[in-house]
Structure formats: structure tokens, C-alpha cells
């Protein structure tokens, strides 16, 4: 999500070649025996970012996070934070704090004591600790709960204590492991925005690990999609969604229709793909980096496909005939599974703009036409 700020450049330091990265992860590998949990990952993260590492379970995202925190030692590569190599620094001396997935609150301490714990380790004067703790409590709106124990708090309150406990140390970098994973849906949405507000208020750089693409899309300034221990794509949420660089990314983020086919024509500014499984030709109005005859895949999001009862004026390209096989009414939209003439089942979503009564809407087994704009599909070669 792109947030509004006055200067546009500061918002996207990654597109400025002169900008100095704040965290530089280069060639980091972690092997457990023969298995490489993290395989040669290089990443530049800039000050004030919320960077999301997104991937399924076992993709290595948590291992990468634990290496940043210092709980795992990289087998190869280096991590530099604010021009300081972290390799030799044990976790308890790193200017990095972590918010654990289970929150890991100390059950024998009150909320206040939990938050003060990190500051006590720095041997700060008592008055200063008390001041910073109460300031943090008010930021996370838990002042009235200062004397409670963790088991007396709700899930959302625990989450805020965990956040406060990590942030009170004023870390250069905050690591968040599935920060919203344990919260229910309504609370998650609310907490997401709260997290962003607190982050902007304090200006701390966040690295978030999550398997939830929705969480990544709302929180992140940039997303790094991980698979099999490697980063497959790095980009802003809209780049990742609109211009995925592989079938894996296209499929992982949101839902997508993948049409396998063969490039039959590639010219300056346009290309044509013969899709037998679709029973038609996909036409795109931009240059494709592939040569004719090559197998490619056209990826198109379900909401970019239009569903028509009547055939459009010119059929042929970017228009496929099919039969409605399934309809799922979701309230705000409906999902249609349409079997194209070539046999492929295409997923289409249509917003339910008007309140429709019987007889007007498209029904099961009805013949329909699917069309899309020439700019909508993304042509993928891998």
C-alpha cells in the first residue's frame, strides 16, 4: 500500500541509485546438514521501510529473520546494519529487537515489568526507565493495564505488549514474526493500521515475516517473495501484484488464471499467444521478451476478465466462449468458474454493482463470452 507523504522521493528510496541501504544482506546462506534453508539471499532494505518477507511455510523466511536477530549464524554471507557488520555480535548486544510470533511475554512479570525488562538490561537510571515505559504504554494504549499479568490480557493486548517491549529499546531494526498471525480477522485489520501508525510515529525500520499475502500487501512498503530459501521477487505490493515475474509469484499473490501457450508472433509493441487449452489467441499490446515458438504463459487476474452474455462485436482475440460451471456469491462480488471451449476452467470475479433479482443474473450452464483488454495479461516465461 502506498501511503501519502509529501515528498515522493523519500517514499521510494529503492528507486534512487544514490540512496544508501540501511540493512544490507549479501549472499546469506544457512545450511542445516545438506539442506539449504536460506540459499544465497541478497537484500537491501532502506531506513524507515516496512519490508515484508512473504512465503509459504518452510520457505526460509523465519530462518532469515532469526539470522538477523542473531539466533542462527549464517553459513555464508554477511549482514550489515547501519554500516555495522552483525556477524560477530551476539543477540543480546545487537541493536535489533524481535517481536515473537507467540509474543513470548514473561508470564511472571506484569505488563510494566515486561516492557521495562529490556531497559533494565541497559542499566539505565530507574526514573528514565519508568518514563520510557509509561510513554510506550500510552503509545500502545495499555496504560490502565500496566499492573496486569500477561495471562489476564486478550490476544490483541498481548500483541501490543510484545510490540511495546521490543520498541521501548529503540532498536535500529524491528523484526516481526507473523505479527498478526494469532489475532482474529476483525482485530487484524484494525491492528495492521495501528502497526503502520506506530511505525511512522517512531520511524523504526521494520522487517516483517508472514505467510499471509493480505497482511503483506497492507503493511509493506516492499515485499520480498521467498520460495525454497531464495528471494524470487522484490517489489512494492502493486509491482508484485501487477507485474509478477514468475508463475510462482503470480499464483502465490492473489488468485490468477494461468494460460499455457506458444508465442506465435512477437513484434515491436505487441505479441500473440496461441492458447490451445483456452481455444483462442491471447493478444497483448506490449513487447514480450521471448521469441516466436517459445512456450509462454499468460497470467490474468480474475477481476480483469469481463463476463458477457452476448458476443462482443469483434470476436477472436482476447475473447473466449465458455459455459458457466460454478458460481459463488460472496456478497460484494461473485466468483464464476467458466469452462472455455478449449477445456480450461477460467476463474472470473465480477463486482455485484447493482442489487440483482431473479432472472437477470448469469446462471449455471449458461453460455458466456470472456473478454479482457490487451494490457491485462502478464506474459511469463518461467
Amino acid at each position: 500500500m502506498v501511503r501519502s507523504r509529501n515528498d515522493g522521493n523519500a517514499l521510494e528510496p529503492w528507486s534512487d541509485p544514490a540512496a544508501e541501504p540501511y540493512v544490507r544482506i549479501s549472499g546469506v546462506t544457512k545450511r542445516f546438514g545438506d539442506f539449504a534453508a536460506v540459499n544465497d539471499v541478497s537484500l537491501d532494505i532502506y531506513k524507515g521501510e516496512i519490508f515484508c518477507l512473504l512465503g509459504g511455510s518452510g520457505c526460509g523466511k523465519s530462518t532469515l529473520l532469526r539470522m538477523l536477530a542473531g539466533f542462527e549464524t549464517p553459513s555464508a554471507g554477511s549482514v550489515v546494519l547501519d554500516a555495522q557488520d552483525l556477524a560477530a555480535i551476539p543477540p543480546y548486544q545487537r541493536p535489533v529487537n524481535m517481536m515473537f510470533q507467540s509474543y513470548a511475554l514473561f508470564p511472571h512479570m506484569t505488563v510494566e515489568k515486561n516492557i521495562a525488562f529490556g531497559l533494565e538490561q541497559e542499566h539505565l537510571p530507574k526514573a528514565q526507565i519508568a518514563e520510557r515505559v509509561s510513554q510506550m504504554l500510552s503509545i500502545v494504549r495499555l496504560t490502565e493495564y500496566a499492573k496486569r499479568r500477561p495471562h489476564q490480557l486478550s490476544g490483541g493486548q498481548k500483541q501490543r505488549v510484545a510490540l511495546a517491549r521490543a520498541l521501548v529499546k529503540r532498536p535500529k531494526l524491528l523484526l516481526l514474526d507473523e505479527p498478526l498471525g494469532a489475532l482474529d480477522r476483525k482485530l487484524r485489520e484494525h491492528t495492521q493500521f495501528e502497526l503502520i501508525n506506530i511505525q511512522q510515529q517512531l520511524g523504526v525500520t521494520f522487517i516483517v515475516v508472514t505467510h499471509d499475502q493480505e497482511e503483506a500487501m497492507t503493511l509493506a512498503s516492499r515485499i520480498g517473495v521467498m520460495n525454497h530459501g531464495q528471494i524470487v521477487q522484490i517489489g512494492t505490493p502493486s509491482q508484485i501484484y501487477e507485474a509478477p515475474n514468475s508463475k510462482f509469484v503470480a499464483d502465490f499473490i492473489g488468485s490468477v488464471n494461468l494460460f499455457e501457450g506458444r508465442l506465435i508472433e512477437a513484434q515491436e509493441g505487441q505479441a500473440r499467444i496461441q492458447c490451445d487449452e483456452l481455444g483462442g489467441v491471447v493478444h497483448v499490446d506490449y513487447a514480450v521478451d521471448a521469441s516466436p515458438g517459445q512456450s509462454v504463459c499468460a497470467a490474468i487476474r480474475p477481476e480483469r476478465i469481463h463476463l458477457l452474455r452476448e458476443p462482443p462485436e469483434h470476436t477472436g482475440e482476447n475473447c473466449v466462449r465458455g459455459v458457466v460451471r460454478e458460481i459463488a456469491y460472496m456478497g460484494d462480488m461473485s466468483i464464476y468458474l467458466v469452462q472455455a471451449d478449449g477445456g480450461k476452467v477460467v476463474r472470473v470475479t465480477q463486482p455485484n454493482i447493482a442489487r440483482v433479482t431473479h432472472g437477470q443474473r448469469i446462471e449455471w450452464d449458461e453460455q458466456v463470452y470472456l473478454t479482457w483488454r490487451a494490457g491485462s495479461p502478464v506474459v511469463l516465461t518461467r
Binding site: 543480546y92 513470548a104 525488562f117
Partner: protein, 306 residues
Amino acid sequence: MGQPARIRLRLPAGQRAVVAIPYVWLLVLFLIPLLIVLEISFAQFAPMARPPYESILRWAEDGVLRLKLQFDSYQYLLNEPLYVSAWFYSIKVAAISTLLCLLLGYPMAYAIARCPPTSRNVYLMLVMLPFWTSFLLRVYAWIGLLKTDGVINNVLLWLNIIDEPLQMMNTSFAVYVGIVYSYLPFMILPLYANLEKHDLTLLEAAQDLGCGPIRAVLRITLPLSMPGIVAGSLLVFIPAVGEYVIPSLLGSSDQLMIAKLLSDEFFMNRDWPRASAVAIAMVLLLLVPILIFQRFQNRTLQAARA
């Protein structure tokens, strides 16, 4: 609101029976004998009688039931230096043994709890293995190890570490060795049960917040294992205060523990009232730590329930 409360008051018959059986057992085989001992402790010693005391209740000639309470035995316990010193010695031995068990048992329990689950059971089995041999036999075995021409002395002499055998048998040292050896499993098991449940991410969180690994254990693991420490310590301390076999076999005859005095009083002097008074005093002495334990357990139970 009244209905659920009424339901809870009346337990089903089966449940009541299950609860009643242990209570009846304790009533018949523990509380009643204890009351008999209490009665004897207030009775008059009568060496020629059989049993050797006068009952505290007697029918006088005029047909009146007379209750005669004798406090002599208790007075004797308080005034006799032998008893007072035996008391202090028993408590000292029990306290030091408990501390030694804790110092030895805590690292062991911690190490077992941090083992991979497959090897954990093997180590637990090893902790419990000595129970398969008779307790008496194991204490006798220590005589063979500790005596002047025993295994330990012979090895030390052979290695030229000492010139003449060490006097280990019949010393307080031998008593400590025997008690710590015998009761160590009672310390390890409750500690293990507690430490095994700890969430290790708490230690990572502590380190993440700037706490060194050793300090993290002291600030997080140690306070969280308090229920285990209390349970283990009481399981060692309470039987150690009343320990009879180990001090009789391994200890010196100059320094007696209270259980030895009790048995001498009972079997050698046949002074049942005095032996009973010792027993009652011992129960009172042990009641205090038990009550502390109960309070502690209730507190942690309430915290867990909330």
C-alpha cells in the same frame, strides 16, 4: 443463578464414592492412629503395665470418669539437651541435604529437560533406576564404599592421593552422602516436570532484549521454576528430617537425629508416652513446611486457572 450452584452441591453417587474411599482410608489408617499417639503422649508412663502407660481416661471409684493429662513428656523434650540438640541437628541435616539436592538436581533436571525427547526418557529411567533395588541394600552398599578399608579409601591410597585412610564412616559427611544420594530423584523429578514445560522462546526473548544467556536463565527460568523447586525441596526436606535408616547405619552415635531417639525411646526404654510426644512434636514441626507448600500450590493453581 441458584440452579447451577444446587447441582454442584450434590455430587453423583459414583463420584462421591470415589472421593470417599481415600478419605475413609486416611481417616481409619492415618487420623485415628495419630489421635491414639496424641493420647499416649499425654499419658503417664507405667513401666510395669502392658501396654506400658496409664490411659488418660479412668473410672474413679466414685463412678466419675476422670481425664488426667500428663505434660511430663513434652516438658522433658524441651528441657533435655539431648532432644533439643537432636532437633537442631535433624533440621540442619535436612536443610543442608535439601540444598545439596537442589544444587545437584537442578542442573540435572535442566539438562534432561533440554535433551531431545527420545533420549529424555532414557535419562529419566536412569534417575529412577535405583528404586528398583531395596533402599536398605543401597544404604548398606555405601558402608562398603565409605568404610576405612572400603572402596573409596583403597582407591585413594592406591593412587597415592592420601597416606592414611580417611575417616568417613560414622560422620555427618556420611549422613549427607546417604541422604543426598537417596533423595536426589525426589528433587529431580518435580523439577524436570516443571522445566520440561518451559517455553524456550522466552529465553530467546530475554536475550533479544539485551540479557546475557546466564542472566536470562536467572531472570526467567529460575523464577518460573519456583513451583518445581518448592515441590522438590519439600519432598526431600520432610522425609529427611525424620530419616532413621541412613543416620543409624552411616552416622555417628554422638550426634543423633530425632527419629533415632524416637525409636530408642520406644523399643529400648519402652517409654511410649515420651516416644509419642516426640512423634507429635515431629508432626507439628513438619506441618509448617507442608502448609507453606499448600499455600504456594494454591497460589500457582489460581494463577494457572485465571
